[in-house]
Amino acid sequence: MVLVERGRLFPMTRRWPAQTTILVVEDDPATAKIIQVRLEMEGLKVLVAANGMDALEILHRDQVDMITTDLMMPAMNGFRLVQEVRDLAPPKGRIPILLLSSNHSEQDMVRCLAAGADDYMAKPISVQVMVERLWRLYERSHRVG
């Protein structure tokens, strides 16, 4: 399988299992759409939530394998969402989480990771790098699991 980008061929080394589902929590629909399309090109099933509250609702209702969430959102922010997810009983409580934030401060990174997030990326983000990080998180969680 190959991805065609900028006229060049990039071999796709990732092998996501069929029906792997990722929950994208992002209040900006423009960014959510970009992430969604790119992840769907990877063969992933993508669910989108506009804030932490909606994300929790989806999480209770559907099978989700990974979460990527923005930090600053209305209703329930990323920190709170991570804490709520980590309070759930396994396996949902152990879902790998990648946090995205437009705040670059060292304290925020530490807070994110201390809250239970598995990884952190500062905006602006490269979607390619994000996909790679998600793959590493997925691999690691399944090795550990």
Binding site: R6, A30, I125, V127, Q128
Partner: protein
């Protein structure tokens, strides 16, 4: 002359008619304006929905089924510009390079000179941001295309280079966020030819804002430090910019500037010395411990407070005997910092604090502070 009563009724009738006509006219104008606004909004939403799909195809399927983004009508250029602006703070890497290509190929930058002078501060700030984000300081890449290939209305005589120079006047903008965005655009370029005006702008800001504005100066990168060393006037004459220098050395962890920092410790300005000590704490070089210890008896409490933090970081457990005298300092902040350093040192520091807290013969202020910090550390599980 008495008012003719027979005219009163027709006058009132005409006045009522005029008032009704005016009200009706205003309602009509309001309705038309609202209709136009609704139509524009519907058009904007339709355009955005179509462009979102086109954009993801352009970014991820380029070279496969979609060679280019597709045509954007001239009348919708301003809408398209706002559409692209939504991605400028969130997307990076390859995708952002493609966005930049799109922005330049559509000639959206042609309107920047006018927008930088717009009456609306949001428009001015957005223009400055675009110059920075889309890196319009790289002249070769945004030269105007040949006349035959120009997809947009070209105005002869419009400037297509030197955008950053046009951002410079915005540093004096009366609206603070516009000036702030302009400063960010200039520092983002990393071009030191803008270092002097940006630094002058920072120095004009209130003292309490300066540390926040350090973030802006950090945009120049560590190359700003040698420039400051060369270009700032003597710290004895004007220590203020050197405070920023010291704080920047800390934020960049620029070890090469350590000799200059030590030299600045001899300048009599209290604020400057305190800032230098903050930087030394971040650099954490144990070699400077004796020099820092010599300031423990400074008459300025701001300096002693920083010394109390620095000794623990630079000296490790061997700093305990030097920290204990600072526990009896008459200023609360100095005692608190000394106690915090002892807590941070772990076993040896906590033992010293426990001894102070339990010794009835110790200084009363030192004993109270030791108890307070031990309780604080216990509550957070640090003990």
């Amino acid at each position: 002359m008495p008012f003719p009563h027979d005219l009163l009724l027709p006058l009132l009738r005409w006045a009522t008619f005029g008032l009704l006509a005016l009200t009706g006219g205003l309602v009509l104008v309001g309705t038309v304006l609202q209709y136009r606004k609704d139509r524009q909004n519907r058009h904007r939403i339709a355009c955005y929905q179509a462009w979102e799909t086109q954009l993801t195809d352009y970014l991820f399927k380029r070279g496969f089924e979609h060679e280019s983004f597709g045509p954007v009508p001239w009348a919708d250029r301003w809408l398209f510009r706002d559409f692209l602006a939504r991605y400028q703070s969130t997307i990076a890497g390859q995708e952002f390079e493609l966005l930049r290509e799109l922005y330049l190929s559509m000639g959206l930058h042609a309107s920047l000179p006018q927008r930088l002078k717009d009456r609306d501060p949001n428009v001015r700030a957005q223009a400055a941001k675009e110059i920075s984000v889309f890196r319009l300081d790289e002249p070769a890449e945004h030269a105007p295309p040949p006349v035959t290939e120009r997809p947009w209305r070209w105005k002869p005589g419009i400037r297509m280079e030197g955008y950053l120079e046009q951002v410079l006047p915005l540093l004096d903008d009366p609206v603070p966020f516009v000036a702030h965005t302009a400063a960010q655009a200039l520092t983002h370029s990393r071009s030191l030819r803008f270092a002097a005006p940006v630094l002058a702008w920072v120095m004009r800001e209130e003292l309490y804002q300066r540390e926040r504005l350090l973030r802006v100066l950090e945009g120049f990168g560590p190359d700003l430090l040698p420039w400051m060393k060369e270009n700032l006037e003597s710290p004895n004459q004007n220590p203020e910019p050197w405070i920023l220098y010291a704080l920047l050395v800390g934020s960049h962890r620029h070890r090469e500037s350590l000799p200059r920092l030590l030299w600045l410790l001899d300048v009599p300005s209290v604020d400057l010395r305190a800032s230098v000590l903050k930087a030394l704490i971040i650099l954490a070089d144990p070699e400077v411990y004796p020099r820092v210890l010599s300031l423990a008896a400074s008459p300025a409490w701001e300096i002693r407070a920083q010394v109390a933090r620095a000794l623990g970081v630079l000296g490790g457990p061997s700093a305990v005997p030097d920290l204990l005298p600072l526990m009896t300092d008459p200023v609360y902040e100095v005692r608190r910092n000394a106690a915090q350093s002892l807590v941070d040192l772990g076993h040896s520091g906590v033992s010293a604090l426990s001894w102070l807290a339990e010794d009835p013969g110790s200084d009363r202020f030192a004993r109270d502070m030791a108890r307070e910090r031990l309780e604080w550390a216990d509550e957070r599980g640090h003990l």
